[in-house]
Symmetry: none
Subunit: 215 residues, 2 copies
Amino acid sequence: MLTHDQIWQAIDRLATTFGYSPSGLAKQAGLDPTSFNKSKRIGPDGKPRWPSTESVSRVLSATGANMSDFVSMVEDIDVQQRHSTTLIPVIGFAQAGTHGFFDEQGYPQGGSWDEVQFPEVSTSEKNNIYALKINGDSMEPLYRQGDVLVVSPNSKIRKADRIVLKTTNGEVMVKELVRQNATHIEIKSLNPDHENRKISMNDVAWTARVLWVSQ
Amino acid sequence: MLTHDQIWQAIDRLATTFGYSPSGLAKQAGLDPTSFNKSKRIGPDGKPRWPSTESVSRVLSATGANMSDFVSMVEDIDVQQRHSTTLIPVIGFAQAGTHGFFDEQGYPQGGSWDEVQFPEVSTSEKNNIYALKINGDSMEPLYRQGDVLVVSPNSKIRKADRIVLKTTNGEVMVKELVRQNATHIEIKSLNPDHENRKISMNDVAWTARVLWVSQ
DNA sequence: GATATTTTATGATTTTTTTCCTATTTACTT
DNA sequence: AAGTAAATAGGAAAAAAATCATAAAATATC
């Protein structure tokens, strides 16, 4: 749905966001400065006037905004939140064996599928994630040569999370968080042969959470 | 950014998605059925013709779609044209311990970082991926309760890939591909205690590749 | 406080979009 | 294969959006 009010509100908010007045934005976009006047939003006989998509396009070019930004102005939703998230069908693995969830080719079938966001990365995480590429076999079987870990440095880490930890003396490791309190952090090696390790928080430079792993 | 091509392709895709032809969609939206004709998208003198936002609004009402849906059509085109999604910084894990790659808070620092796409999913895969949520602990330590596997049914599978396999008698399993030829497929259990299994291709309903795992 | 600049308002004109009309092609049904 | 409906093409007319021209109000500058 897209209402007349919404589209003009979006233009107004876009102008404000980028530090323009409505007429200033129009000018910047190469349009007539009066195009966005309040008096031009309703026709002489009271009929609502809708801008052309070309005007919208020019306004976006002028501000450097994209359509998602524009829509966030329309729908009043945080810009960052709806950036490149995709909903994909999901079911529990236990259900996958039961009849009716897949077609002949292995594609999802029927209406019983749920939906999840992929990638499921929150607003705050979105701008700061990075990736680590695994070399060697020291972290097998969990991580193998060539796997890519997507890591978020400002995520809160919780028990059982896979984390990247850097100590103050420069050691970087990927571990599983066992427990954490104000003074110490206890971590488990991904390789089950090794024993748990307890590190003083004073010796921890930073931690980050592993969000996704490519296979 | 919003280009002339994008807006018309978005209208086309919206029509297709909701089972209309371009003219059928126009009719449904209360517009003239010829409004979206290819011949109406460029003016007599070769100038591009941009639809009004009112037309866009009416099309959305007719389909029940919202602006986000419309934009996803726009940006999908964007993806196809630019072949890039979200680039995030990446380095090899071995380098992570050396000096100069991170700031105090654990954020990437310096110019030596590479870049990778996240999620690294091709255009063709993008529309067909789905997710499986792990219940129980039968696949530990690799997959744990609550983990989400992102799966692509039309990916070519290669040696060492983690795959989802369904047999003709309905069994669904996640395994590692050991080798595959015209007649047989050999798979390794994620749990190292189990022995490899060799299945006749006649007994394989379909296979899919595991692309990503949330942690 | 006077002056310049920006912003907004309003009507006439130009340009563009939409509709209307008819012809042709394509797809579907019997 | 014939008949019908839907989809597309292209031009002319109608409707609407964008521009132009001018003026008043608000804001900024000196």
